[in-house]
Symmetry: C2
Subunit: 250 residues, 2 copies
């Protein structure tokens, strides 16, 4: 398909967990070379990813905000990828396809890592068979969180489980009891349930709570010492593995 | 403890999965500012981490190779952190402590991410209570592998399990059957067993094999199509979650 050489390339670029210095050299180059920077955002906000890359954009770079429909959180957790959210990803992919057809190179920003719970994945699967598609790995939120707190997470033959806080209390407790290290995502309003599940699994005293990890207003505390006030949606709970380590480092 | 201000700082710096461009801006700054660069290596080789950062080191930066004792692989998998390997980490920590006491800032390179199955963790726990210790997150090998292959790994409420290939066939099969996405590390000579466990779990046809991910000689293939020749120790098997995605992208 020779015509493909004239088309642009789409690149999913991980912008990392929040600290602008946690961008990779490869991400900086992709952003600097892009004709168009596309980014997911909520209505009225251009999002963290866009703020992180600002200083690396060439003057005159086109911007394509992909504004989530208001229903996104509900739909995502419930009806899979049907309905308004699937339509939104379809439309976003077609907007990008039109730019690629015009020979533009498009970077799609993705907070954290593009293929690890990122919205970019929905565009990637819609575009990768029709266009040249590349992915630039990013530092995940969880990696930013354990690095910020200096908590060694897993070592040697440890098993690590990454669990959504949306699981039932019973399932969470069972998973937590049967792993070495654990990362619990989507904490938000699930925090009281997560706390009970950790207690059932005998791991509450090991757990660390982190919100807005690596950002200027990031904070961390032992989960036992954290109060019951509502947690932000993107807060994380870390449970270290590595039981055989030396010293009193917990 | 006012004397501490005169002491140096130790920084564990993730050098990422292999591609020198997957270094973060923060890592580059830490390396450039370091008085001493310490790195783990085998006898006769200075290691991947050292090669990745070479162009970012100031002329005159001191280097401290931490040469693994020959017994490291055996000991690590068996007797925990006792014996020669614990002695090695004790000695390495003391060598670094002497430099910190002399007011030098020491960067310890860590391939991938320092607190995710990295050797730096063993120094961190020995030094963090005595000195200022910081960690700069790095792109993990697994993230480099799924990005290189463009394989969306986990989405929405997926569970991800990171499993060592050293688990028994039965345990591996059980874990694989009870997760959405999975990453199997330490593949090496465990490859035939991993293949059988994936077949038992009904996931062999989904699995992707990646060796030396993001490096110049990196390669990936569907595990079903990969032959039975020995795999490098640091190869990885990826099993995608996200069953509800649109299209024919597997």
């Amino acid at each position: 398909m020779n015509a493909a050489i004239l088309k642009g390339k789409v690149t999913g670029v991980g912008t990392g967990p929040g600290d602008p210095e946690l961008l990779t050299l490869k991400a900086v180059r992709a952003i600097n070379e892009a004709d168009v920077i596309a980014f997911f955002c909520k209505k009225g906000s251009s999002g963290n990813g866009r703020a992180i890359v600002e200083t690396h954009m060439r003057p005159g770079t086109l911007e394509l905000p992909l504004v989530y429909p208001v229903t996104v959180e509900t739909q995502k957790d419930e009806a899979g990828y049907k309905g308004p959210i699937a339509d939104f990803f379809d439309r976003s992919a077609e907007d990008i396809a039109a730019l690629l057809d015009a020979g533009k190179n498009v970077v799609v920003l993705s907070e954290g890592d593009p293929l690890f719970y990122g919205s970019y994945m929905h565009l990637h699967v819609r575009l990768q068979n029709r266009y040249q598609a590349e992915v630039v790995a990013g530092i995940t939120a969880m990696s930013g969180c354990w690095s910020m707190t200096g908590l060694p997470l897993v070592q040697g033959d440890d098993i690590l489980s990454v669990l959504p806080g949306t699981l039932s209390e019973e399932k969470l407790a069972e998973r937590l009891a049967n792993t070495d290290g654990a990362v619990i995502m989507k904490v938000g309003r699930n925090l009281p349930k997560i706390r009970r599940a950790l207690a059932s699994a005998g791991k509450l005293s090991d757990a660390l709570y982190v919100e807005r990890g690596t950002m200027a207003n990031g904070a961390a505390a032992k989960l036992e010492e954290r109060d019951e006030s509502p947690a932000p949606y993107f807060s994380i709970v870390l449970v270290p593995g590595w039981k055989t380590r030396p010293g009193d480092v917990r």
